[in-house]
Amino acid sequence: MKSFLLQVWRILPLWLQIVLSRVIRPLFQVFAAAVIFNEDKKILLVKMTYQRFHPWGLPGGSLDYSEIPEDGAIREVREETGLEVGVEKLLLVKTWSPDKVGLYYLCRIKAGTFQPSDEVSEYGYFSMDDLPDVRPFDVGLLDQIFQMMK
């Protein structure tokens, strides 16, 4: 049965394959976030204005359609903080809720100083021992990132 279905699939026109894929396959929200350390090996976190609970987190946001994931991380940091960053490498990828995937890029600041934006009111550098009010999931994530950077 399965092999018959696969044969049928093969003769479908490409546009139909694309449309059907979006119907039958799971779809995910993708987030690109920036991991930035200062000289003291502390991590940059920002305080979101629009989150009532656990307002602190890594700078970053939703990837747009046809955007290169790295550019998404760079754009989000610029929009949120006014900082210009460059991507060094992709550190890790995690599914953090059933339909949300986070891409965490190690970045360094190239230019700019912090400017509060509509979305972000404050920033700070933190170590694992003095984290601000971050989402419970992020505690494990940040711990993993600190471990990787050792």
């Binding site: 092999s3 490409l14 929200q29 009532r52 990837l63 046809s66 995937v101 509509d118």
Partner: protein, 150 residues
Amino acid sequence: MTRTLLRIWRIFPLWVHVLTARIVRPKFLMAVAALVFDEQGRILLFKHTYRKLAWGIPAGGLEYGEQPKDAIVREFLEETEMTIEVQRLLLADSSRHFKHVSLVYLCKISAGEFKESHEICEIQYFDVDNLPPMLFDEKDLIRSVHKDLF
């Protein structure tokens, strides 16, 4: 203006946040892919039964709630009955034409013998300068990773 809207946004209950995000945020098909090279630097490719361009990089779709790293191991096992080990995460790539994000891992085969499945009828190592007809994006990816590794 944005600021006021974000302030209003903030007082909505959490379920409104979750629901709205689900509707307005871009949604992607997530693919995971494995690049496996042998000692001579040849790349392992799969021949797919159901594709117009039969040869391609071993890959599959992420399921809801699944970690990408587990997804590539599962897909490989399902399609070939071979077990792989993830060596490292290489990159995340998006497509300009499709609403699609791929996560590419460098892997090596740790156990098992190839067995045909509904989806895969043949596997073979190819010299990177002599690849079979396949997607140009995949060819470019293989060659750029090969250049960095060998």
